[in-house]
């Protein structure tokens, strides 16, 4: 394959065009076009995984073409250890979410077209290595998301959609300013992230701090880090199932990916300085606060949304640790949270499609009616709780081991929250699936083959990574340790070199 990254990014866009020109009255083909154009993405991702060289820190499968040469803007794609796992995750989640979309009945043409555009935007963010290109993909993704929530969402969809859009746009314009600053005040004017990272020491400390904060706010809104998280529960509750899956499965990871790719790589000295307060402390607040909020929810989907806030906190804590274990655990946690939370949202969707509400108190005893569903839910819940043998256990433990030496207090809080997590998960399971059956729901059908087909592959991934985490960790190690070293090194001589 000569241009795997271009293909993996733009194949969905071809699908989008085909969907838009699909003749009227043939709407039933539209969903299969969407399947047909996300499947190759998955295959290419598999091919990338098989051919990825795990021993080098340099960029692989690179494509480098002039776009606007007068302004040093390049079409520069490539993956390294930081992004390859996210490319895989995106391909898997997008493929599955197409199937999760089969329940959409109104305006299918627009829906699938936007879904594929969103797919291109997300994949582009993870493979772009030119900052300008990265920014274009980053913003291109906002729009389909707005419409997907706003048109196909729940009752308060308009509020949720515009809130999501405003929050994210505010974040991204800050990123734009920081990007321009990096361009003009660097050693040479360039948007090339690899080059920017190589000349990281050129920036003055004051500039690094300002740019770091601007970028951090932009990315923190996406994670979402406390106190910028308030758009998330609204967006999740209103979004259709497939969109929630993408939102939690992929979109949130862009925030932490951006911090690793840009803040850590290009502004290492400032990263070292701010790691404690802005990543460590904020991450810990995310963990604890998210879990407490989740416990208080009465809406099943909102509960899962807050659990996402909590679990993304581990990613931040792991990054803040600035140790090999911590940073590897953080990226593994990104992947694991992506698969587990996708399962959880799919499971919420299953019951919502049947009962048309999500009030936890309105259910009870569903296990007797839907044993297969209850079993898979149990599995996903245990995975989210971090049960040993399942994937999240490995990543959370890595994060905590990594953080322990530096931040013992935060590590204790983070580890202690596992009890809260277990508490709300088990309590929810008990209220929905166990106990006396609510007579209203007698005769609910168990999982359909389509739902089964969406959930089981994710469960298998969770299981495999629980016993063999090296499947992902092997990809990450070299690049992540390189970035981590750069941040650690930047600190020591910083006072000497930088004014």
């Amino acid at each position: 394959m000569t241009h795997p990254l271009t293909l993996i990014t733009f194949i969905p866009l071809i699908g989008m065009v085909l969907i838009l020109i699909c003749p009227k009255g043939q709407e039933k083909f539209i969903r299969w076009i969407a399947v047909l154009f996300t499947l190759p993405q998955l295959l290419i991702a598999g091919w990338l995984y098989a051919n990825f060289n795990t021993s080098t820190t340099s960029v692989q499968f690179a494509e480098h073409y002039a776009w606007i040469p007068a302004y040093h803007i390049f079409y520069f794609l490539g993956v390294d250890g930081i992004s390859i796992s996210m490319v895989l995750l995106t391909a898997i989640i997008c493929f599955i979410s197409v199937f999760a979309s089969f329940t959409i009945e109104r305006g299918e043409r627009g829906y699938y077209a936007l879904l594929l555009l969103l797919d291109t935007g997300m994949m582009g963010v993870f493979v772009a290595l030119d900052f300008f290109l990265f920014y274009v993909f980053w913003e291109v993704m906002l729009l389909p998301m707005y419409f997907l929530i706003g048109v196909w969402g729940g009752p308060r969809r308009e509020y949720a959609a515009i809130k999501f859009f405003l929050y994210t746009l505010l974040g991204s314009v800050l990123i734009l300013l920081a990007m321009l600053g990096l361009y003009y005040y660097g050693a040479t004017p360039t948007f090339d992230m690899v080059e920017l990272a190589a000349n990281a020491s050129h920036y003055s400390m004051t500039f690094q701090r300002v740019a770091w904060i601007a970028l951090f706010i932009g990315f923190a809104i996406k994670i979402p880090a406390f106190p910028f998280h308030t758009w998330l529960p609204d967006a999740h509750v209103e979004a259709p199932t497939a969109i929630s899956v993408i939102l939690a499965g992929v979109l949130l990871k862009m925030g932490t990916y951006g911090i690793l790719r840009i803040n850590f790589s290009i502004l290492p000295a400032a990263s070292h300085e701010f790691a404690f307060w802005l990543l460590g402390v904020v991450g810990t607040i995310n963990i604890v606060y998210g879990a407490l909020c989740a416990m208080a929810q009465t809406d099943y989907k909102k509960l899962i949304a807050y659990s996402s806030v909590s679990h993304m906190g581990y990613v931040m804590l792991g990054m803040a640790a600035l140790t090999e274990a911590g940073i590897n655990g953080a990226v593994l946690q990104m992947f694991n949270h992506g698969t587990i939370t996708a399962m959880l949202f799919l499971l919420v969707g299953v019951i919502y499609d049947r009962a048309h509400h999500r009030e936890i108190a309105g259910f009870g005893g569903l296990a007797s009616q839907m044993p297969m569903y209850a079993a898979l839910t149990g599995f996903a819940f245990f995975a989210a709780m971090g049960l040993p043998g399942l994937s999240a256990f490995i990543s959370e433990v890595l994060v905590l081991i990594g953080a322990w030496r530096r931040y013992p207090m935060m590590t204790i809080l983070g580890a202690g929250t596992a009890i809260l997590t277990a508490g709300y998960m088990l309590w929810t399971f008990q209220r929905i699936y166990l106990g006396p059956l609510n007579e209203k729901y007698k005769g609910l059908a168990d999982l359909t083959p389509r739902e089964f087909f969406m959930l089981v592959p994710l469960a298998i991934i969770v299981l495999i990574l629980g016993v063999y985490p090296h499947a992902i960790l092997g990809l990450l190690g070299a690049s992540l340790n390189h970035v981590n070293q750069a941040v650690l090194m930047a600190h020591a001589p910083a006072a000497a070199i930088l004014p």
Binding site: L142, G150, E158, L169, L176
Partner: protein, 495 residues
């Protein structure tokens, strides 16, 4: 080169064509019974002017008509932009339901005359000439605004425009007289020499003169606090005229403003950065105007329920963004401003065109008329309007984003951090009201009693071209930025 009257004519062909066009239209109006082809004729004349501009030989520049006008790359850019604006206005007039009941011949003749005036504004290098051109544009604009004789809003708008315009241009000519008193001449070059001369300059006097002149220029580009006419006039005027005022008149205002503030009262230093002359303390003044313009325009737009009014306030805010390029005193900034004005032309004309298409079908201009547009047969105009509005917000991949990108790049490069932050906060605020019509079109269900929007080849054709341009130039904008780059040259005399 200082060309005399006869020698100047070879650089004056587009203007001559327009003049001839005006006469032909007036005469033809008297002779022919079927008025429909008059619009097509006007379109051909405007296109002809554009062609003449395009084939004008590239050269260093010259003074025309004994230093009344100047021919240079900068003027060429704006003449091209104004010709494009005139073409869009004529095209829209042909497809407009409002305009087709008017006196076609007069209407198109005055429209072309106004274009001629704008050309002269872009070329003037003498304050008296500048004033005359500006007045000419204003007078023709008043008539065009009030052209719907049986529409009260149109009449009211014309009167308001006239009163505000009279005050603004009176203030400006008073300021011009002060400048004459200080410099002893109205020629830009002479003013520059007088202000640059060492010695005791009455700084406060110059400042007052500049404020007075800014009233006239600010009125043309609808900058706060000289913007009060814009919402009413934009709402009352026929939509093609609104478009023409929003993109053409504003561009001409920017041309004159830049030419006055840069080559006339500043001087170009090393590395493409400008410096205000010792006697003329204008950057602070314009900076304040710029910040208030974008902020007030955006905040006022938040509450609008009429699309034309919303776009009127939006265009005030957009002028504020373009002004950011003017106030930072670098060639980078001027180039960004040029690019931004082009981008603004494409997206704002497109937005007004969709407003006209909807108004043609429904006779309404309020946002409520857009309810569920995408779900009642108007999906194509709805998508197009969404593209234009998102471009106005500055979302990639549209030309509006690239425009903002260059503006912010220039601002950051000149280290105006606070200005940059104010600019991006404004962009974020603007998203809210630009999304309001989009929300209405896509997220709301139609009630079922709305008039359907039907396909019309003429208007949809132009809409398609503008929408494609918004996207395509947002992905590949090298030709436009190269054109802006070439146009950054003011002729200030043979060196």
């Amino acid at each position: 080169m200082d060309l005399g009257n006869a020698a100047s004519l070879s650089h004056f062909l587009p203007e001559l064509l327009l003049t001839a066009g005006v006469i032909v239209l007036v005469v033809a109006d008297l002779i022919v019974r079927n008025k429909a082809p008059l619009g097509d004729l006007a379109l051909i004349i405007a296109a002809g002017a554009l062609v003449l501009i395009a084939i004008e030989p590239a050269q260093r520049g010259a003074w025309l008509f004994h230093r009344m006008l100047v021919f240079d790359a900068f003027g060429l850019f704006f003449r091209a932009l104004i010709a494009l604006a005139a073409m869009v206005a004529v095209w829209m007039s042909i497809g407009s339901e409002e305009v087709c009941h008017c006196d076609q011949g007069e209407y198109y003749a005055i429209l072309l005359a106004s274009t001629l005036g704008m050309f002269l504004m872009a070329e003037a290098t003498n304050l008296l000439m500048a004033y005359l051109a500006l007045e000419f544009v204003s007078l023709t604009s008043y008539i065009l605004t009030g052209f719907l004789r049986h529409n009260r809003r149109s009449q009211e708008a014309a009167l308001k425009y006239l009163i505000y315009g009279g005050v603004a241009s009176g203030t400006m000519i008073y300021g011009v007289s002060w400048i004459f008193g200080i410099a002893g001449s109205l020629d830009f070059g002479a003013i520059n020499r007088a202000l640059a001369a060492p010695g005791h300059l009455p700084v406060l006097t110059v400042f007052i003169a500049l404020v007075l002149i800014l009233a006239g220029l600010g009125y043309k580009i609808a900058a706060v606090p000289f913007h009060m006419w814009a919402p009413d006039v934009y709402t009352g005027a026929p939509i093609p005229i609104t478009t023409f005022l929003a993109v053409g008149s504003k561009a001409a205002g920017f041309a004159l403003l830049t030419r006055f503030f840069y080559p006339a009262i500043s001087h170009l230093g090393a590395g493409g950065s400008w410096q205000a002359l010792a006697g003329a303390d204008w950057p602070q003044l314009l900076l304040v105007v710029c910040v208030i313009t974008m902020t007030l325009g955006n905040l006022a737009a938040l509450q609008q329920t009429n699309m034309k009014r919303l776009l009127a306030y939006s265009s005030i805010a957009q002028a504020g963004y373009a002004l950011m390029g003017v106030v930072i005193l670098t060639n980078d900034g001027i180039r960004a401003m040029l690019f931004y004005l082009f981008a603004y032309y494409v997206m704002d004309a497109g937005a007004f065109l969709v407003v006209m298409i909807v108004a043609n079908a429904t006779g309404r201009e309020d946002i409520e008329a857009y309810r569920g547009l995408a779900w009642r047969g108007g999906a194509v105009p709805a998508v197009a309007l969404a593209i234009f509005l998102l471009s106005l917000t500055g979302i990639p991949a549209t030309i509006g984003f690239i425009g903002k990108f260059y503006i912010f790049a220039a601002v950051i490069r000149s280290r105006f951090y606070v200005l940059a932050v104010i600019g991006i906060l404004n962009s974020t605020v603007s998203l809210y009201y630009y999304m309001a019509p989009i929300r209405m079109m896509f997220l709301e269900e139609p009630r079922g009693d709305e008039t359907p929007v039907t396909f019309e080849l003429w208007n949809y054709g132009l809409m398609g071209v503008l929408a494609c341009a918004t996207i395509v130039l947002g992905l590949y904008w090298t030709p436009i930025i190269a054109f802006a780059d070439r146009s950054m040259h003011f002729f200030t005399g043979p060196s």
